[in-house]
């Protein structure tokens, strides 16, 4: 299969993603072997387009077989590179994942237990058994699960199986927040001012919190990054009732401070304290939480950086002491400490800061003899001061943006390095080519605290791979279940372009063209974020979402012209459906006489407001008058396609008609947000009198002669102002037409 894979990739990429010719369908025997090709093809497309820039040297022998100890998109991602490198793959899966994409993609698959992760993907015994059974030479852990588990790495080492990741020593050193901070300091990396040790009790916590600035001043290397000036600002005198005085106090005492668990992660055991009282409470609560969550109640205290950005540096090291920094990723858009939108490079960094951060990251990697792909996370304040946060000793979720701008295949490099090969690149080779943005598409309801997980079956699913500059990393297919057992991420949608504007434009298009049905998804939120003016300007921080949507996310707010566009599209779509309903194959005994309707008078209810719309069509062009303004809507009107590409007065829009009822209710996804409108043909009540042109309206008797008055044009009788037998004079209004 691997050979077939490599061989067909360009062919498939050249556009054979379509349906199979009908005659092939009829061969059910053939279908069995071909059935996977359909989704391979989409993966192929991506591989060839994005990762193809990095050559694979077939003479460079790495492994024969790799076991991928993960599931979902990252397992698929790793398997893809393995296939490219001619390596056989083994997937592990829980019983509910038996027919998932990563299992189908891999050459072999082993079930490692029931659905709960603790019994399957975290079940080291079963995984070790699978490794033995399949004789895999190496294990790629992906991210999450066992990727930063030193115990697992140790077990593998004992069995002589290569762990594709850093050494146990590095995992351990970086996994502990106190140890990693000490190491970072030793490697002369900027760290957040704070107390570098375990805090014994609440009172000590308060003492330390007050003194943090003092600690700060004793830190080395302050001179080179301007930290002093930043904090000098805090010490500027201000009037006592202004907000500045609060920062003055904070400046003196060191508040606000962050109390966090040494063994923590994911926001657990973390607390912000603004004064002594909060410090005492925070200490107590955090140590309880840390004890229950991690079995380790050691806490540390550091200065809390308000309104920071989250920027991280990708590093890559080998076993020969080489290490590179592969530029940064901006990951500030987060909710509940989870990243939502990431990009590379960061709009905020200048070349100098980037190099300073990169060099410090590499220094840290060297200090722990780091030999794989890893990420050094920094908090960056508004003055471009950066502070080491932590180092992730694994492949990050958001690694694709780095791959897009550097052209490297990080998984391939990880595998090479794990085998012991030296890095092929020099720091000077690493450039920034264009701009890449990643959106994490989740099965969650963005209208509830920016994302409440939802579950369900993907009844329809179509990735926007037909667009240029789009990469989708996913591990699902139409019909997949988003279950309660695992992360509700549907996919990572990555777009790239020559600059940020192009990448963002492509992202908006890609989100509009992404078909996800059957589960609630967060596309509405993602699309709002990337077109938000603050985001576009690059004015972002980790508080972005709560700052921009203080009352929670409410969906896209339509402007007047957007609303008119939506009404015009909905009306055109409604009429297109009505017209299509009259198209019968003409072989019936009785002829079909299509009604001749020149103007469709519709009333459209949108967001509880009723709009009057008049639509008429000429072929595929609809001219629609919405509340008095005229719009032209053009499309192919393929009513079976989940995506409808329309042009409204030249503006290209992709909408999705999610549901349509015979009664006139229609749900349309427009600009990411779903609008429900209810349409109805205006009920022409039978007592409206229509007259045709030339028709006699009334007869006036004058000079003993009868004169008939006829209608000048076709219209409806609005009102009659005279009665039979009335005497009428010149200029009198008799009958009103409209």
């Amino acid at each position: 299969m691997a050979g077939f894979w490599v061989g067909t990739a360009p062919l498939v990429a050249a556009g054979r993603r379509g349906r199979w010719p009908p005659q092939q369908l009829m061969l059910s025997a053939a279908l069995r072997t071909l059935k996977h090709v359909l989704y391979y093809s989409r993966q192929c497309l991506m591989v060839s387009r994005n990762l193809g820039s990095v050559g694979y040297d077939p003479n460079e022998k790495t492994f024969d077989k790799i076991l991928v100890a993960n599931r979902g998109e990252i397992a698929c991602r790793v398997i893809r590179t393995c296939k490219k490198m001619g390596i056989k793959t083994v997937a592990i899966h829980s019983d509910v994942d038996a027919s998932s994409v990563h299992v189908k993609m891999a050459d072999e698959a082993v079930c490692v237990g029931p659905a709960p992760t603790s019994k399957s993907y975290l079940n080291m015994d079963a995984i070790m058994e699978a490794i033995k059974k399949t004789r895999a030479q190496a294990v790629h852990p992906g991210y999450g699960f066992l990727s930063e588990n030193k115990e697992f790495a140790r077990c593998l080492a004992a069995e002589d199986v290569v762990f594709i990741g850093p050494d146990t020593h590095a995992i351990q050193a970086m996994g502990d927040k106190i140890e990693s901070k000490l190491l970072a300091k030793k490697a002369e990396v900027n760290t957040i001012p704070g107390f570098d040790g375990v805090v014994k009790d609440a009172e000590e916590a308060v003492r330390i919190a007050r003194e943090i600035d003092g600690v700060l001043l004793s830190l080395p290397r302050l001179e080179c990054n301007g930290t002093i000036s930043a904090h000098c600002n805090l010490c500027l005198p201000g009037s006592s009732d202004s907000p500045a005085s609060a920062s003055l106090v904070a400046g003196i005492t060191g508040y606000p401070v962050m109390i966090k668990a040494s063994a923590g992660g994911g926001g657990k055991g973390m607390r912000i304290a603004w004064d002594d009282e909060e410090t005492r409470d925070g200490f107590r609560l955090s140590s309880q939480e840390a004890a229950s969550s991690f079995g380790d109640d050691r806490l540390l205290i550091e200065k809390f950086i308000d309104n920071p950005r989250h920027i991280e540096i990708q590093v890559l090291g080998d076993k020969h002491g080489n290490a590179l920094w592969l530029n940064e990723r901006e990951c500030s858009i987060q909710r509940r400490n989870q990243k939502v939108v990431e990009e590379a490079p960061s709009i905020f960094l200048d070349a100098e800061t980037r190099r300073a951060m990169g060099e410090q990251a590499v220094a840290l990697a060297r200090a722990v003899k780091y030999s794989s792909a890893g990420t050094v996370e920094f908090l960056v304040d508004s003055k471009k001061n950066f502070y080491f946060l932590e180092m992730n000793t694994r492949l990050q979720v958001e690694h694709p943006v780095t791959e897009c701008i550097t052209g490297l295949d990080l998984v391939q490099e990880m595998i090479r390095v794990a085998k012991g090969y030296p890095l092929r690149h020099k720091q000077a080779d690493i450039r920034i080519n264009g701009w890449a943005v990643e959106c994490r598409v989740y099965a969650e309801d963005p209208y509830k605290s920016f994302g409440l997980p939802s579950i369900g079956r993907l009844s329809q699913y179509q990735e926007p791979l037909h667009l240029p500059g789009v990469r989708v990393d996913s591990g699902i297919q139409p019909g997949s279940d988003i279950s309660i057992y695992y992360d509700p991420m549907i996919s990572k949608l990555i777009t790239y372009g020559s600059d940020r504007t192009e990448a963002l434009k492509r992202m908006a298009d890609a989100l509009d063209n992404y078909v996800i049905r059957g589960v609630t998804h967060n596309i509405a939120l993602l699309r709002e974020v990337i077109i938000n003016s603050r985001f576009v300007k690059g004015d972002i921080s980790t508080k972005f979402l709560s700052d921009v949507y203080p009352d929670g996310f409410k969906g896209h707010m339509l402007t007047k012209s957007e609303k008119n566009q939506l009404l015009a599209i909905a009306s055109s779509l409604f009429v297109a459906f009505q017209l299509r309903a009259q198209h019968f194959q003409e072989n019936s005994r009785m002829p079909v006489i299509k009604p001749d309707i020149a103007n469709w008078e519709l009333s459209v209810k949108l967001h509880d407001k009723v709009h009057t719309v008049v639509a008429s069509n000429n072929g595929s062009v609809f001219s629609v008058e919405v509340d008095g303004s005229k719009l032209n809507v053009t499309s192919t009107w393929n009513l079976a396609s989940p995506l409808l590409s329309v042009s409204v007065d030249g503006t290209q829009r992709t909408v999705q008609c999610l549901s349509r009822e015979a009664g006139g209710n229609m749900s349309i996804q427009f600009l990411g947000t779903v609008a429900t409108s209810s349409l109805s043909v205006e009920i022409c009540l039978f007592w409206t009198f229509q007259v045709a042109e030339g028709q006699e309206i009334c007869v006036i008797e004058a000079m003993k002669m009868q004169n008939s008055m006829t209608a000048g044009k076709t219209g409806t009788v609005k009102s009659v102002h005279c009665q039979a037998g009335d005497t009428v004079g010149e200029g009198d209004l008799l009958v009103e037409l409209e």
Partner: protein, 570 residues
């Protein structure tokens, strides 16, 4: 619509003209004027109905008038009215007085088109749409009948409107006769209080005349009833004889006798809604096939529904323009059947994925939910879909589901609509309730219907096809044209557990025996090797295969031996 309007406009002109002339030429042509005037007056009375105030009142109740309903149901300008001048012929109780007569009586009849296709329509007029003078007359006020009622129960009717007179019935019969002759469907918009008591037996005769036409037309042209107001007594049997009965929620009722009679006879306290509302008939009794939110929703859905039907039994199933590729693969079907054979899934998901544009007009969606029936299109052609629903009672067949399925299958067969059957059935539902209820007799109806059907029959076994139910569900043995099994199919006499308990009674190693049985029978091979399924297909290819088969089967012809009519076990 336009025709009617034009008529109205002409009427208006005539009025002006006639009045203008009156003074000048009255003596010369009094005869002609008088006729014209009378024509105009009659038309105006017929068209304007109860006037704006009454129409507003009707709208406030969320209801449309009889003519508005017709104008919404039919294509604009296509309605051609007949018998606008018919009046009732009753002379008793002062009914002969001019003020108690009005043109057209209490029903609007005629023909028109829905999406360009011919249909005959009648729409009954309730009081609100009638002439105000008629409604305000004292004799139309509440009439209390002694028990037992002399005419089919009319206990709670308070107004004259919509009640069926001899003339009313004659008008309906006339359009039905013509519909049968030309071969076009009849749609009734029912809103009738029942028999017109003043007319006595003539009214009853009128009902019987309509019943006879309903039966004559049955299987010749599709007949649809939309219940848009209270229908009591004799008025309920015509809808019952038609092919489909739809209702409007909250405003329509169907019952033989109203709550008052029920109270006096059985001493039950029951509201109109509980006794014969849309919910009752679509979930409990199975009398109505579907209910809609309001008049507009119902009429729009009726237009939508009409597009699925052929005009008559002489016509093939209609083929509408289709944008959905017939050879579309449906990858999501490959994983839809759960791995555990006891786990439920939603058969409607499969139907949506397979048919054109996910459009499925389900019939009786809330009654006997263990079977799914409804109309859809494959490559534009109307098909009837029958499917077991594993989500409800494991998809077993019971009395209600058998009857529901059988009637639907017979409709499709009568009107040349191909049948596609999705099978996941664990068998017939056991138990005393079912046996006492006559599951044997009722189950036989579905069996009979499938065996009798000569339209193209395509069957897909998605999972279980156990026991007698396997035979019933359009199996190869009942002349299924194409029978497919998915790889997940299990075709056997019963599930492994039950089978092993019988075959290996007293056997020690039950589990091994069970495993052996599963290995042998819980797969599609036993049926496939015998040719009982034509092929084992990949689920994702189901749509393409069915569309291809239907193209071939379109010319299917079956000759049955002559008989007067068959004798289905009713």
């Amino acid at each position: 619509m336009a025709a009617a309007l034009r008529v109205a406009a002409v009427g208006a002109r005539l009025s002006v003209l006639a009045s203008g002339l009156r003074a000048a030429v009255r003596s010369l042509c009094s005869q002609a004027t008088s006729v014209n005037e009378r024509i105009e007056n009659k038309r105006r009375t017929a068209l304007l109905g109860g006037g704006q105030r009454r129409i507003d009142a009707q709208h406030k109740r969320g209801k449309l008038t009889a003519r508005e309903r017709i104008s919404l149901l039919l294509d604009p300008g296509s309605f051609v009215e007949s018998d606008m001048f018919v009046e009732h012929r009753c002379a008793d109780f002062g009914m002969a007085a001019d003020k108690n007569k009005f043109p057209g009586d209490s029903v609007v009849t005629g023909r028109g088109r829905i999406n360009g296709r011919l249909v005959y329509v009648f729409s009954q007029i309730r009081a609100s749409a009638m002439s105000p003078r008629l409604v305000s007359d004292s004799w139309t006020q509440a009439i209390h009948l002694p028990w037992p009622p002399k005419v089919l129960g009319l206990q709670d009717f308070t107004v004259f409107g919509g009640s069926l007179s001899g003339a009313h019935a004659q008008k309906i019969c006339k359009i039905m006769d013509q519909a049968i002759t030309v071969g076009a469907p009849v749609i009734g918009l029912n809103d009738s209080g029942g028999a017109r008591i003043q007319e006595g037996v003539e009214s009853l005769a009128g009902y019987a005349d309509i019943f006879l036409r309903n039966v004559t037309a049955s299987g010749v042209i599709p007949q649809i009833s939309l219940i848009m107001g209270p229908c009591a007594g004799g008025a309920v049997y015509s809808p019952a004889l038609t092919d489909f009965t739809f209702m409007v929620k909250d405003t329509s009722y169907l019952f033989i006798t109203g709550p008052d009679v029920v109270k006096s006879v059985t001493n039950e306290d029951v509201t109109q809604e509980e006794l014969g509302g849309a919910k009752t008939h679509t979930t409990m009794s199975g009398v109505a096939h579907r209910a809609f939110e309001n008049d507009v929703d119902a009429l729009c859905n009726l237009r939508d529904f009409f597009n699925y039907l052929p005009l008559s039994s002489q016509d093939p199933a209609p083929v509408r323009e289709c944008h959905d590729p017939s050879d579309r693969l449906v990858p999501e079907l490959d994983t839809i059947v759960p791995l555990e054979s006891t786990k439920a899934y939603n058969m409607v998901d499969i139907i949506h994925s397979v048919v054109d544009e996910r459009e499925f007009f389900e019939i009786m969606p809330n009654y006997a939910k263990n079977i799914i029936v409804g109309f859809a299109r494959m490559n534009g052609r109307t098909v009837g879909i029958v499917g077991n629903q594993p989500k409800v009672a494991s998809g077993c067949l019971d009395i209600n589901s058998s009857v529901k399925g059988a009637r639907f299958v017979r409709f499709c067969d009568a009107f040349n609509i191909p049948l596609i059957t999705f099978v996941d059935v664990p068998g017939f539902l056991p138990g005393t309730a079912q046996e006492y209820g006559g599951i044997i007799r009722h189950g036989a109806k579905l069996l009979y219907a499938f065996a009798e059907a000569t339209v193209p029959k395509v069957t897909v076994i998605t999972r279980k096809a156990y026991g007698g139910a396997y035979d019933v569900m359009s199996s190869k043995h009942l002349c299924g044209d194409t029978n497919y099994a998915w790889p997940t199919a299990e075709i056997a006499v019963m599930g492994a557990k039950g089978a092993v308990e019988i075959i290996f009674k007293g056997h020690e190693n039950v589990e091994a025996a069970q495993a052996e049985y599963i290995e042998k029978f819980a797969n599609p091979f036993p049926a496939a090797v015998r040719g009982f399924v034509d092929d084992i297909i990949q689920p994702s290819s189901t749509r393409a295969r069915i569309c291809c088969d239907l193209d071939v089967l379109a010319s299917k012809k079956v000759q049955r031996p002559w008989r007067k009519h068959a004798n289905i076990p009713l």
